[in-house]
């Protein structure tokens, strides 16, 4: 069974006009994949990530992640599911400004009930791995955009999720920082076998993915494997 399964998923946003964000989408992603959802703005990439991330619900269709059909799961259980199985990286970092780097990393494991010494040990190991240990007590406002996004990826990884969803993670970064971030994501994917699904419309980033899911106007128009 695939780690992520979408069967006939559709989502329409109804504000002043109806916008078909996704239409009858079928998709399966296996554990350990390093996949990019690509397409122009408005193609449905973010909606796809939100639905898989269980922070939005489809109008029709079924989404199954690690065997759980999230489309019929109550909100409180979904929160628990996200806590235990998913990691999120947002386009604009979204670290908690009142917490230090270390505390931001500890946030999710603390919710999971991981004891503090264990949380700190894991966070220090990851920070050391990306050469950021000396920044552990800094607040997000004291970091560069690249550093913040790397912390955001570490925050997503630290709780050891099954799947990390990253919405345009390099959009606010320069090419050097974007490269560093992708290096880190690739390494974590390889070493920890964490499944990564990220959205992008940056051709340079697309080249690093091992699978490309192409979307346009909410429809799947291509699904190809590629050598990185």
């Amino acid at each position: 069974m695939a780690q992520i399964e979408l069967i006939g998923v559709s989502k329409t946003y109804r504000d002043h006009v109806a916008v078909h964000a996704l239409t009858a989408l079928n998709l399966a992603i296996e554990k350990g994949e390093f996949t990019a959802a690509v397409g122009p703005s408005g193609s449905g990439k973010t909606t796809l990530l939100n639905l898989i991330g269980a922070i939005d619900t489809p109008d029709t269709g079924t989404i199954r992640i690690a065997g759980l059909e999230i489309t019929s799961t109550p909100a409180d259980q979904l929160a628990e599911f996200r806590l235990r199985h998913l990691g999120f990286v947002f386009q604009s970092f979204n670290l908690f400004p009142v917490l230090s780097v270390m505390e931001n990393l500890e946030f999710v494991p603390a919710l999971q009930g991981v004891p503090k010494p264990e949380r700190v040990r894991r966070a220090e190991r990851l920070l050391e791995g990306v050469g950021m240990l000396e920044l552990r007590d800094k607040r997000p406002g004291e970091l560069s955009g690249g550093q913040q996004q790397r912390v955001a990826v570490l925050r997503a990884i630290l709780p050891e999720p099954d799947l990390v969803l990253a919405d345009e993670p390099t959009a606010n970064l320069d090419s050097e920082n974007a490269g560093l971030l992708l290096d880190m994501m690739e390494r974590l994917n390889r070493e920890l076998a964490v499944t990564f699904l990220f959205s992008t419309h940056d051709p340079a980033v697309m080249g690093r993915a091992r699978r490309l899911i192409r979307l346009r106007d909410g429809r799947l128009i291509g699904d190809e494997k590629q050598e990185p």
């Binding site: 922070i55 939005d56 929160a79 996200r82 806590l83 998913l86 979204n94 919710l111």
Partner: protein
């Protein structure tokens, strides 16, 4: 612990707004503590004036006397009573008296009066009537048939110092008793009721007048404070359970005073309620703004797995930080101002004439700081703030993560 850290730091993200909110809570609370302190002090002084004027903190009569005062309802086994009364906890003094009604007459006029037969030394330990003498002197066992009359009574009778006054009563045996007395002193107690309608005489003279040799009507006890009444009443009620007597606290003897205090308390609570509503609106505004400014943050928290109830907890904890800081500062300011005014007193003598008409003789109020006041005020404000915070907290918890994250 992480949530408390976040709550604490979130509060100080908006330093000026939070400080203003803490100050609002603190000033509201300080005002409440001071007003309650003034009220408590005023009430305590009213009670003290009243008990020191005549009634004492506790009165003991023969059963049924309070409901239907009659001369024949005299105290049983006075020696036993005296022995038990003298062991009452928190006791400062006690006086056994003879009470009755009669007619006081002079050559010029006459007036219906309450007659109180006292033992001078014992009476000094309970009431302040000896210090209220403005002309003449207090009663003395060595005097021959002396009486003390109030200033107003002296005016209405036309009786001056050393003048003769005839007291006429119906004696216990049904006969009419009339005896001649001489005015030994004139008092001004400040209580219109006492000054115009009470005559004090020696206890033995009263027993003779009423033909009740050795008989006594009531025991009045003065305690160290009105807060000791319950303990003393409990002691006496237990020890005198086999005796046909009633042990009455001051508020049963003077129900008007108690009703006045309760009414005054009711006004105070209405003011506090209005004040708390104003504070609540301020808190609600602060917490709402704090929530609306962090919608995206709440969205991220929920996307990462924070449950709605944990979001509620965080917002309420932030309000709790404001409430506790405000309560601590308010308690400090309220206590300091109450203690300060307790030391200097609040002079209300310019309103004394109006107050006196109501029987209120207190002109300088010394506020009282009690632990009950502090705990009640502090807890009330904290509970109000926490309750108010629930509305924005529930709003925050009800956000949809996907919409909240997109919030600008």
């Amino acid at each position: 612990m992480l949530f408390w850290q976040m709550a604490w730091r979130n509060v100080w993200r908006y330093r000026r707004r939070s400080l203003l909110t803490v100050l609002t809570i603190a000033l509201g609370l300080a005002f409440t503590i001071l007003m309650r302190g003034i009220g408590d002090g005023f009430h305590e002084q009213m009670v003290d004036n009243s008990v020191r004027a005549q009634i004492g903190h506790i009165e003991i009569h023969r059963s049924g006397y309070q409901h239907d005062p009659a001369l024949l309802k005299m105290l049983p086994d006075v020696q036993l009573l005296e022995r038990i009364v003298s062991r009452t906890p928190r006791l400062r003094g006690f006086s056994f008296r003879v009470l009755g009604d009669g007619l006081a007459s002079t050559a010029e006029n006459s007036a219906g009066v309450s007659i109180v037969g006292i033992a001078p030394q014992a009476e000094r330990s309970v009431t302040a009537i000896d210090r209220a003498i403005i002309t003449g002197r207090f009663l003395d066992d060595g005097m021959s048939r002396p009486v003390l009359i109030g200033e107003r009574l002296s005016q209405s009778l036309g009786a001056r110092l050393n003048d003769k006054v005839v007291l006429m009563v119906q004696a216990a045996d049904g006969s009419m008793g009339a005896q001649l007395f001489r005015v030994a002193g004139i008092f001004r107690s400040g209580s219109p009721e006492l000054d115009r309608g009470v005559v004090y005489l020696l206890r033995k003279d009263a027993q003779s007048l009423f033909s009740i040799a050795g008989g006594l009507t009531e025991a009045a006890l003065l305690l160290d404070s009105s807060h000791s009444v319950a303990e003393a009443q409990q002691f006496l009620t237990t020890r005198l359970s086999g005796q046909p007597v009633e042990v009455l606290p001051w508020y049963v003897v003077e129900p008007f005073l108690r009703q006045f205090i309760e009414l005054d308390d009711a006004f105070f609570y209405i003011i506090v309620l209005i004040l708390f509503i104003v504070i609540s609106v301020g808190i609600l505004n602060t917490v709402m703004m704090s929530v609306f400014e962090r919608v995206r943050e709440f969205g991220v928290m929920m996307a990462l797995g924070t449950k709605p109830r944990q979001v509620v907890r965080l917002v309420v904890q932030e309000a709790a930080v404001l409430a506790v800081l405000g309560a601590a500062l308010g308690a400090l300011l309220g206590s300091a101002s109450t203690i300060g005014f307790a030391y200097t007193g609040i002079n209300l003598s310019s309103y004394a004439a109006g107050a006196s008409a109501l029987g209120i003789t207190t002109t300088v109020i010394h506020p009282e700081l009690t632990s009950r006041n502090l705990i009640f005020s502090d807890l009330s404000v904290v509970v109000v703030v926490l309750l108010v915070a629930f509305y924005p907290a529930i709003k925050a918890a009800g956000l949809k993560p996907v919409e909240a994250i997109r919030h600008i």
